[in-house]
Symmetry: C2
């Protein structure tokens, strides 16, 4: 069942199954475990494909990305049904996620076509300059090389085989080797076939894309350690991301690991907003907490309120909404076990109060929601209260005053998002808190909820450690491409030897900076 | 003798001296060793200055950079004379380097003013979008936070206290803490005073810049380990860079280390060029090898020639020129010792031939040049022959054919530069080699020599590991700023709360991307 370039035809013994998220039953068929030898083969093929991928003209690269989208759509309902079975996510969500995945490929296709990412820069020769002539210098971005991608369990389409990291890496001209997530092995394999179909349809080298299904840490480590791999994209747990980062750092030639790991996404409710629309915000809060069984990297794990402001309406509405919330199946048994343990641990701390539990739910691995509360003092004194609990749980933190909220924010680890709910009369407080929020997160949201990450030019889905391993990047949006590029300068080469992107006649019609002045294409 | 923010007034016992590079004599005065407590103090002040630095308007930031240049010029000849004594570099070189340092500050001032580095990006709200409204999303780059800079011994001005890393970090809005290089402690202290003068003249917080003189590895490690430091710039040896990278990786919150370390900068001489202008190229080669006693990160450590092409004129001219070359004083006794050991080790390998030694020279630490030769087979079989020997030595490598040259290039570690010398009839060979060169280096030079790094928009002074720790960046040129920036996204914030760079009326007149379309300012 190995797909594509990594497949060889030696007999295999180890196999694994994916499981139905509602019933817990194994789903047919079983999948063959890829091993280190498969990883090595896929990486060698990726290295062989590098030159073609890197020099593939923007228009052809864009066509390839769009073709992947078409091939995914052609999988039809079989893809949605398999994903529903494996993840327990509802049809509407998965259809939306498929649209997002295809839209993301289209978005990167448009980015690739425009070509600003190449950052074509020309400093022409200055033959008369003293004390010495300045040579002709030209710079472009090229692909960093083959990229290993580890998909996330919580977005079986948009952050998996042909998801954000794969789309960005292919857009950047990198061959990609995906380590499939075992929690949605069937979904992954279907999508991998779609990508392989696009590779073939576009006449690209077979090593442009490989897919390695498997359940072992050994496979992932072999992939990251492979000398042909030049960068790693990962979305998942902190333990998983840091383990891969350690492998990457121990290589003879270390490589960057872009891991998006954990975040509790603090939300601050200011008094004006609490007073004017507390009840509505309380309902919206729980809708965000329980969305997708809370299995979002941007799920609001903490809401900070001022204890002497009028937050009763907010708290009552939130408590009631959470109490009524149905348990949705969680992605895997292991995730549910970790979630239950996480909630129990939070509740075991003195001073942590349970405001409400959601309905218990049926099935193999339901995620019963939880709304807890604690004082800011306690929250600040116990580091364990500030750790992500992945699932539909959230902690209301009651602070004495605005200054204490600032102290809480300063004490937190790096975050993907921070959110602030306010009315015009709260703006001075927002202004006072913004520097704190800015130091801590990649995205600051006003009057909204952190779940929901737009694919667009301005998005930052990243943030200071340990939200990600590198705050200088984002895994969503136009800038996501930049993780997989490096600059290269050509000094004094004639047009006949320069890459098309840097030739004087600009055959690719790129936006370029010439002698310091930016020219649109 | 501690300069600036890091100075406290407790009594100090440990002191150290700088040495005259020609006579080896200790120079007055002695300098007080900064310790870990000084590093902690400087870093705390830097953290306190962060907000001011980060939000300093581009025009004021540019004025600050220019003011540093003026203050350096105001030091007058005292700076040049002290640098001459400490480094053994001639007046002309140091005056040129001062001009480069001041010019680099001016260059970054112009970059900061234009504001493209902010990458201001606005995706306006789409209230009608289905299935859900798109919120207003705006992105800018902000400073990564306080930066630690470790200067290089070989450029006491341009890559030291107010050199490339400091200028880029200040331009990016980062407070800077410089660990002074003990090989030019007096030069460093003078320049640090100039920077402090500019900080005061511009009314900036004292923590904007601190300077820590010292000789101990403990001091450097304390600086990199300090939790307030967010990134490190380093130029120097591979051992030094990797030691700092290990400290950074072991932090509770790892940070990036941008270390520019070692490179042998291979040059390929193609037959047409050897035939048509071999003698001139031979002379130019040795001029590049011996420039500044070979103490350049871009010194051409290896020239690859085709053994059956007409390279006699080239080799004879190079041999004669090297034989006549005068020994220049090296920067420190330790560098000279390492250089002599490096040459001896190269010569101890069977098959390595000594084509010429330069004149022995007088003084405490002369750098006697060396031109060696070896076959490509031998060069490929002995990894030790492919290591940088810092100083005026170079190795002529005789290859069988073009394909073997490609194999040699593929076998090398990452490089700052690769160079190719050719005539029009060689162009097919250049085209065949370019993919190899491109994978290996940050800059590809045609018909020139690698020494000489322009400060301009298109420059890349970086390259794959171990030339640097991160091939995605450059330490020279406009792009150098990007090491010290991170993106941040503001979702749904009103103009009244947005930073000036992202307000709808564009008060800073920045170039911006709005709804995907790039607008010049």
């Amino acid at each position: 069942m190995l797909v594509g370039a990594a497949a060889d035809h030696s007999p295999r013994t180890a196999t694994f199954a994916a499981y139905d998220a509602v019933t817990g039953a194994a789903l047919a068929p079983r999948f063959e475990e890829a091993g280190p030898q498969d990883a090595a083969r896929a990486c060698a093929l990726a290295a062989a494909a590098f030159e073609s991928c890197n020099e593939l003209a923007p228009v052809r690269r864009a066509q390839f990305l769009q073709r992947i989208g078409l091939e995914i759509l052609e999988l039809g309902d079989a893809l949605i049904e398999r994903a529903m079975a494996e993840t327990g996510l509802p049809r509407g969500r998965l259809e939306g996620e498929r649209q997002r995945t295809v839209g993301q490929l289209e978005f990167f296709a448009s980015i690739v076509r425009e070509g600003a990412w190449i950052d074509a820069t020309i400093d022409p020769e200055q033959p008369q300059r003293l004390p010495a002539r300045r040579p002709d210098l030209r710079r472009r971005h090229i692909s960093i090389g083959p990229v290993a991608v580890f998909g996330a369990s919580n977005f079986p389409l948009a952050f998996s085989v042909a998801g954000a990291d794969t789309a960005a890496a292919l857009a950047a001209g990198c061959p990609v080797v995906v380590k499939g997530h075992p929690a949605h092995a069937g979904t992954g394999e279907l999508v991998a076939r779609a990508v392989r179909g696009a590779v073939a349809a576009c006449g690209l080298p077979v090593g442009t894309f490989s897919y390695l299904p498997g359940t072992t840490a050994e496979l992932g480590a072999a992939l990251v350690a492979d000398p042909n791999i030049r960068a790693v994209g990962f979305t998942g747990s902190r333990a998983g991301g840091l383990a891969l980062a350690r492998v990457a750092a121990a290589r003879a030639e270390p490589i960057p690991v872009f891991a998006e790991m954990s975040s509790i996404n603090p939300v601050i409710l200011l008094p004006g907003a609490a007073r004017r629309r507390g009840a509505q915000l309380g309902q919206d809060y729980i809708a965000s907490v329980t969305l997708g069984a809370g299995q979002f990297c941007t799920s609001p794990g903490v809401v900070l309120v001022l204890e002497h402001s009028q937050t009763d309406a907010f708290e009552q509405a939130a408590t009631a909404a959470l109490h009524d919330s149905a348990a949705q199946p969680m992605l895997t048994g292991a995730i549910q076990t970790a979630y239950r343990r996480g909630v129990d641990q939070l509740l075991s701390h003195p001073g942590v109060e349970c405001l409400a539990r959601g309905r218990p739910g049926a099935g193999a691995q339901p995620g019963q929601a939880a709304l807890l509360a604690v004082t800011a003092e306690r929250f600040m004194s116990e580091a364990a209260l500030r750790q992500e609990v992945f699932g539909p749980a959230s902690l209301l933190v009651r602070a004495r005053d605005l200054q204490q909220i600032g102290c809480v924010i300063d004490l937190l680890e790096g975050q993907l998002t921070t959110t602030i709910l306010f009315e015009p009369e709260d703006e001075p407080s927002v202004a006072a808190l913004l520097p704190h929020l800015q130091r801590k997160a990649g995205r600051i949201i006003g009057n909204g909820w952190p779940t929901g990450v737009e694919v667009c030019h301005a998005m930052v889905h990243g943030g200071p450690y340990p939200a990600t391993t590198d705050a200088r990047y984002t895994s969503v949006g136009a800038l996501a491409l930049q993780r997989f590029l490096r600059p290269i300068c050509y000094q004094n080469l004639p047009d006949s030897l320069l890459p098309a992107a840097l030739r004087s006649d600009n055959p690719l019609q790129l936006p370029r900076r010439i002698d310091g002045v930016l020219h649109a294409s």
